[in-house]
């Protein structure tokens, strides 16, 4: 047991002392900080640029629709609040050259009450002009149509703008609300399990490659070496995740007022605590089952260069699980038959069950059964991996085939 703690301390300390580990963590925290401080920073910077903001766009309007100019200008002006509308008499061709010369930011050519051409150099991604013009013209058309049929103008206005009052009485979960945080957590889970699992494999293989293993295996029990390494890397992964998530929460709360309008970001940081705890549970369980396998595979490689070939099948399995889960999330059918199976199958349950807990309808016994299956399999694979490791670490040369490994296990 003492050996295990010595190995754990050495391995975990190794991560904390590694420049790459610290650098990546600090960089990620900085990126999260910049993203979450962005609205506040943007406001500070834009305060100095108020003058530029006052510079409004100019849109030329050629009214060939028969609607009275005044009414049209008033209606469009009410919609296009950030633009000055300049009535012109030029034809479409002339306006085209004028826009091209930058005389105007754009030009509207109305041919009839429901037909227009919008001339613009480039349509920017947040140019809402056509939408506003569509809406304005449609409203004017409805108004005049109703009036023509003898409806008094005031009543017509009421009919068109009649308010709708709706309310959602939700029994299950709102997938729109929890989609985003589940998505972020699933990606974190996926990356952390894969990254730290592979670190374990590479760590074991490089100890073999550098022949440090000769000394390690003669100084300590293989089980202490393997568990110390796996739990050390797991702790490093957990602390990295804690640093990212923790700094995210702190930065968000410092800037909470600036994110009031953004439902996606707010929903991410207002996720229920229970979801966070489930994420932790499934990270730990999922990490162990994969880390054991990665560790065993790493012990079969003679050098760290061989690791990739050996771990690829396992990584593929994990990726397939990830895609099944992501597709399940996008389709909204997180309780489908495939997802149901995946949420109990130990290699996929950490991610699949987590998504079902977060977004679907899961009964308590289902979660318990899934976790029990996962833990039982993890213990079984842990014992098997420790045996493979024991045999594997002294094996040099070409990585053995799986059948050869089992043959050796029976003999050992």
């Amino acid at each position: 047991m003492k050996q295990f703690w010595t190995v754990l301390r050495f391995e975990f300390g190794g991560y904390l002392k590694s420049k790459a580990f610290v650098g990546i963590t600090v960089a990620a925290v900085l990126i999260i900080g910049v993203l979450l401080f962005y609205p506040r920073l943007a406001e500070i910077f834009s305060a100095g640029k108020e003058q530029r903001e006052q510079e409004r766009g100019e849109i030329a309007l050629r009214n060939g629709s028969g609607i009275p100019d005044e009414a049209l200008l008033a209606a469009l002006g009410a919609g296009l609040t950030d633009k000055d509308i300049v009535p012109v008499k030029d034809d479409q061709k002339a306006l085209r050259t004028a826009v091209e010369r930058d005389d105007y930011d754009g030009a509207l050519v109305l041919e009839s009450p429901l037909q227009y051409v919008y001339i613009v150099q480039t349509v920017s991604i947040n140019d809402a002009t056509t939408g506003i013009v569509d809406e304005t013209l449609l409203q004017m058309h409805r108004q005049s149509a109703l009036v023509e049929r003898g409806v008094p103008p005031g009543e017509a206005q009421e009919i068109i703008n009649a308010p709708v009052q709706g309310r959602v009485d939700r029994i299950g979960k709102n997938q729109m609300e929890n989609f985003f945080y589940t998505y972020v957590l699933i990606i974190l889970l996926y990356m952390a399990i894969m990254l730290y699992g592979q670190y374990v494999a590479i760590g074991v293989a490089s100890e073999k490659g550098s022949r440090t293993m000769e000394l390690l295996i003669t100084s300590a029990r293989p089980i202490s070496l393997m568990f110390g390494k796996i739990i050390g890397a797991g702790l490093a992964g957990l602390s990295q995740m804690a640093a990212l998530i923790g700094s995210g929460f702190i930065f968000f709360n410092l800037n909470r007022p600036y994110w009031q309008g953004n439902e996606i970001i707010s929903s991410l940081f207002d996720m229920p605590l229970s979801i966070m705890l489930y994420c932790l549970l499934f990270f730990i369980a999922g990490y162990f089952i994969y880390a054991f396998l990665y560790g065993a595979l790493g012990s079969l490689a003679s050098r760290s260069e061989d690791v990739n070939t050996l771990v690829t099948p396992l990584t593929m399995v994990f990726m397939v699980v990830f895609f099944i889960v992501i597709f399940g999330m996008y389709s909204g059918k997180v309780d489908s038959g495939l997802m149901l199976f995946c949420s109990f199958f130990p290699l996929s349950s950490p991610m699949a069950m987590f998504v079902r807990v977060a977004m679907g309808e899961v009964l308590v016994w289902e979660v318990v059964l899934s976790v029990v299956l996962l833990i039982a399999t993890t213990v079984g694979l842990g014992i098997l991996s420790a045996r493979i490791y024991r045999v594997g670490v002294l094996l040099y040369g070409k990585p053995p085939r799986l059948s050869e490994v089992f043959k050796m296990l029976r003999q050992a």
Binding site: Q3, G14, R211, T212, L215, T218, S219, L394, Q411
Partner: protein, 302 residues
């Protein structure tokens, strides 16, 4: 403290590597484990270190399994290797810790040993920044740190210059005199001869020869004599005349090596030499070098 291997056999798959070997090593006496490449030395060493169990037979330290006695082993593997990317002191403390030493004590012991081999200034450097020879010395410190009761040194002199080899000899001698069990495996027979009181020669998975070096040499064929300082021509004619007594004569270094018809006829030979007036400076019984013995016992293949 006596470490003994009793009738140990070990196979890997179809291949039987050890076929019932027995040997024992005593504290304060270095044991040289000899054998050609592939003779089973590393397997024997790993069995002693309990990395895998034998198929049959027992490893016993003072009559009980070594794991139960809590004894620690310092191992210098033939394939040297430490963490290249880690600091020297950091990994020495780690290896001592794995052997059960508390951190502070491990730190002090490692520093003292680094001081001893003249590497204390590199304690905080990464191992990869050290020269090959210094890396070898750090490996030696890693073996000795934690004050193990049993030392297993596999080719300890490879890659050391004469000055460092002398330093290693000094350190190993100290360990032997402090009553530790020292296993020594090497192909460099001169070092074995210098250090080891006992040897065991492994060949083909069996021990073909074991015992004290002096006794082995002493019990060797005593019928061969070395005659120093005699004229070769004169000796050759003498041998022809005495063909009942001298069976074979060959040049050996500055002297000559001759084989008697029987070992107890030494005095007869000396009288004959004196009677014939053959001048010589000395006569002694020829003792083969360890190298000669090794070749003789392992030549027949592994």
């Amino acid at each position: 403290m006596i470490l003994s291997l009793r009738d140990i056999s070990k196979s890997f798959g179809e291949k039987q590597v050890l076929k019932g070997i027995s040997l024992s090593a005593r504290g304060g006496r270095a044991l040289g484990l000899l054998g050609r490449n592939g003779a089973g030395k590393t397997t024997a060493i790993r069995l002693i270190m309990d990395i895998f169990p034998p198929d049959s037979g027992k490893v016993l330290l003072d009559g009980m399994p070594p794991a139960q006695s809590g004894v620690t082993i310092g191992y210098l593997p033939e394939e040297r290797g430490l963490y290249l990317k880690k600091q020297v002191l950091e990994q020495l403390v780690y290896f001592a810790g794995l052997k059960g030493m508390p951190r502070r004590a491990a730190r002090e012991a490692a520093m003292a040993l680094l001081e001893r081999v003249g590497l204390s200034e590199y304690a905080g450097s990464k191992l990869e920044t050290l020269s090959k020879g210094n890396q070898n010395k750090v490996q030696l410190v890693a073996t000795l740190v934690g004050d193990p009761q049993i030392l297993i040194l596999d080719e300890p002199f490879s890659g050391l210059d004469p000055v460092n080899a002398a330093l290693l000899k000094e350190l190993v001698r100290e360990c032997v005199s402090r009553g530790k069990i020292v296993f020594f495996s090497s192909h460099q027979m001169n070092y074995i001869e210098e250090f080891c009181d006992e040897i065991a020669i492994l060949n083909g998975g069996k021990i073909v020869l074991s015992g004290g070096i002096r006794e082995i040499k002493h019990h060797y064929d005593r019928s061969r004599l070395v005659i120093e300082g005699a004229d070769q021509e004169r000796l050759a004619s003498f041998a022809r005349e005495q063909d009942g007594l001298v069976k074979d004569l060959q040049r050996k270094g500055s002297g000559a090596l001759l084989k008697l018809a029987a070992p107890e006829r030494k005095n007869e030979l000396i009288s004959a030499l004196l009677a014939q007036g053959v001048e010589f400076e000395g006569v002694r019984v020829f003792e083969p070098s360890l190298s000669d013995i090794f070749v003789e016992y392992t030549e027949g293949g592994i």
